[in-house]
Symmetry: C2
Subunit: 388 residues, 2 copies
């Protein structure tokens, strides 16, 4: 099989390495602005012109690894419309244009695969699709952002503060110079959209997901939770209910004896619940050049070998996003006790003007609304749901 | 697709339920000695004669769920030789006759799948095969026996003794009336043979695997390890080295912060290490009617849809079993300190005539030889390797 690669950065070059070393897949063309150090031998196949891929009838499949929305979207649509299969690790693109892209692929009778968008090297989306061939998925959840997990894990181990650990994560290359999409939960939100749509054959959009990140967490939150037998993780959550799909991203206080609590460094752990199969979890590297590159190549091999895994939007009417009335207890840390807060607090401790509270069971929607309100007002606050 | 089912016990009926509820696979014939309560409507398709399946040209695939070696082996060989694909959860059969059965399938150009033999409902073997399409697996390990895990987990939680927890496991239906294959490690050994052969394209046999079970564990072992920050799990291990494959089954003292230590009840967690993908783990129900039945049906769907996953014995010469010279530290509890033992003990405590020892780094082979020797002499002893 001849393939083209758009973008020759971390994942593009990782996929190239894996394909070359371990398969007979031939990389015929690479679209890149310039060559890459150490790859001078590829000068002959590097082009600056997307048409060289799209118009090449011998290229059956294109790996889009340029990242971001544009020109990635235009390129992917052009490839699909030219009858080429597409494999991409681009979660921003797939999450933002899920319906348009899956519909375009389907209309052209070609495959669009994006296993590495959620879970990096973990074959999460592939197994989700394989499971639902004869089971009904009722829930997906998990740790899908390695940067946040690295920060939270280091804070727990070292008692260090958020800013310090974020800086180290940046130095190690785990976190971007602008880390906001990781720490505010947006990256996890995108993986929630993609995972939930695959799990439930739905068409959720980014704006359907309640989202609260870890950007306001402090060392004292970790210390408080640790004392009670918990550690904090940022989790995606999506549940199928009679009313529709409830989906949200938030910090969760996980008991130290849970699998999630013991996911170290920048690893991921993602879980599905099926009516017959029960609870199944998948653990591994959620990012990285070779793991993500390998996941891309596995998608390419699946397409080459005619391994069909179905997504359809068949449930998108029946299972729309619904209000997040899921009720949980929350840990809340804030500086100013108001009547509004008091109304749903079960118990609290005050230390040096800081309130550490455990809420009565309240809905995700209510807690997130309050969190957003506090953020907008510039008041210090952090919360995490408490997993029993 | 028309299929036949041989044996209508727990897994056979589970697979029937899943296939009927969630697929268009048609169960055309069931070989059973007698009907099953609640399935009187199947009287028309139940037969007592294997020829009714083998000679039926419309049956493309047979699920063998009768268990044990004979007549299962004869039936499976007859089906493969008649050009029918076979799916089976029968780990005893696959482990004991791995070479004969895979060779017979290959010679007849049909598929033989057995994902549910190792990990029950977990798509472990399937993902192992999918991963190695473009990666080199260097190691497999994990918790693959739910009965032992249930016993060890309960002993840890309750401080209870082995015999008591074994009895409860039997009452719950997790352990057989004769639990020896679980507690002596033989069941785990069979899954090690199967997993290692798939991972490394090898042809290990049961006698190649060093094996020590949990039948001599006592509450005081768990208590000692707990105090040091460990819990005990029974693990399969297989590593690819330049000298060949080292494979062994033994109790392992796992740090409380490891994923393995936090696998509760009768669940399984199985791990592969690939050169590019790194460490990946798969968690879920390792047994049970519907999970195992679903795993069987997933194999059937894969075959129906032409989803090829390759096993070949291509490395069986290059990667034969080699001496287990893997060096580890061990926890050893015994009653009588001899010179032989003293020679490799790093430190020990004595309490009420019982010696709790930590060994110097010694080889798996040496430790297992000593364990077997003590067992043969009827001397009380338990050991577990210590994972750092």
């Amino acid at each position: 099989m001849n393939i083209g690669i758009i973008g020759f950065g971390t994942v593009g070059s990782g996929a190239y390495e894996i394909a070359k070393a371990a398969t007979d897949i031939n990389v015929k063309r690479i679209l890149a602005r310039h060559g890459r150090e150490g790859y001078e031998n590829l000068d002959d196949i590097i082009t600056h012109n997307i048409e060289d891929l799209i118009e090449d009838k011998e290229i059956d499949l294109v790996v889009e690894a340029i990242g971001g929305i544009e020109p990635a979207r235009t390129y992917v649509l052009a490839c699909l419309n030219a009858g080429k299969h597409v494999v991409t690790p681009n979660k921003n693109l797939i999450s933002a244009y899920f319906e348009e892209l899956t519909e375009t692929a389907s209309r052209n009778g070609v495959e669009l695969r994006f296993t590495s968008t959620s879970g990096g090297g973990i074959p999460w989306l592939f197994n989700l699709m394989r499971t639902k061939r004869c089971d009904k998925i009722t829930q997906v959840r998990g740790i899908v952002n390695g940067t946040c997990n690295y920060i939270l894990d280091s804070m727990y181990d070292k008692g260090a503060d958020f800013a310090e650990m974020l800086k180290i994560a940046q130095d190690l290359g785990y976190a971007e110079a602008d880390p906001s999409s990781d720490i505010e939960g947006t990256d996890t939100l995108r993986k929630t959209v993609i995972s939930a749509n695959i799990a439930f054959d739905a068409l959720l959009k980014e704006e359907d997901i309640y989202c609260y990140g870890i950007d306001t967490i402090e060392a004292r939150d970790i210390a408080y939770l640790k004392e009670k037998g918990y550690t904090c993780k940022l989790l995606m959550n999506a549940k199928l209910t009679d009313a529709g799909i409830k989906a949200w991203v938030e910090p969760v206080a996980c008991p130290l004896t849970s699998l999630e609590a013991n996911v170290k460094a920048n690893n991921n752990l993602i879980t599905l619940v099926g009516e017959s199969i029960g609870t199944q979890s998948f653990y591994g590297q959620g990012a990285g050049r070779l793991p993500t590159g390998e996941s891309v190549v596995q998608d390419v091999i699946d397409i080459r070998d005619g391994i069909k895994m179905e997504y359809s939007e068949k449930n998108s009417k029946k299972y729309a996003a619904c209000s997040c009335d899921e009720v949980q207890k929350y840990y809340i840390r804030h500086n100013k006790m108001s009547e509004d807060i008091m109304s749903f607090i079960e118990k609290y401790e005050e230390k040096e003007g800081v309130f550490y509270c455990i809420s009565k069971p309240i809905s995700v929607a209510r807690m997130h609304d309050m969190g957003r309100h506090f953020k907008e007002e510039g008041k210090p606050m952090f919360f995490a749901s408490i997993r029993e």
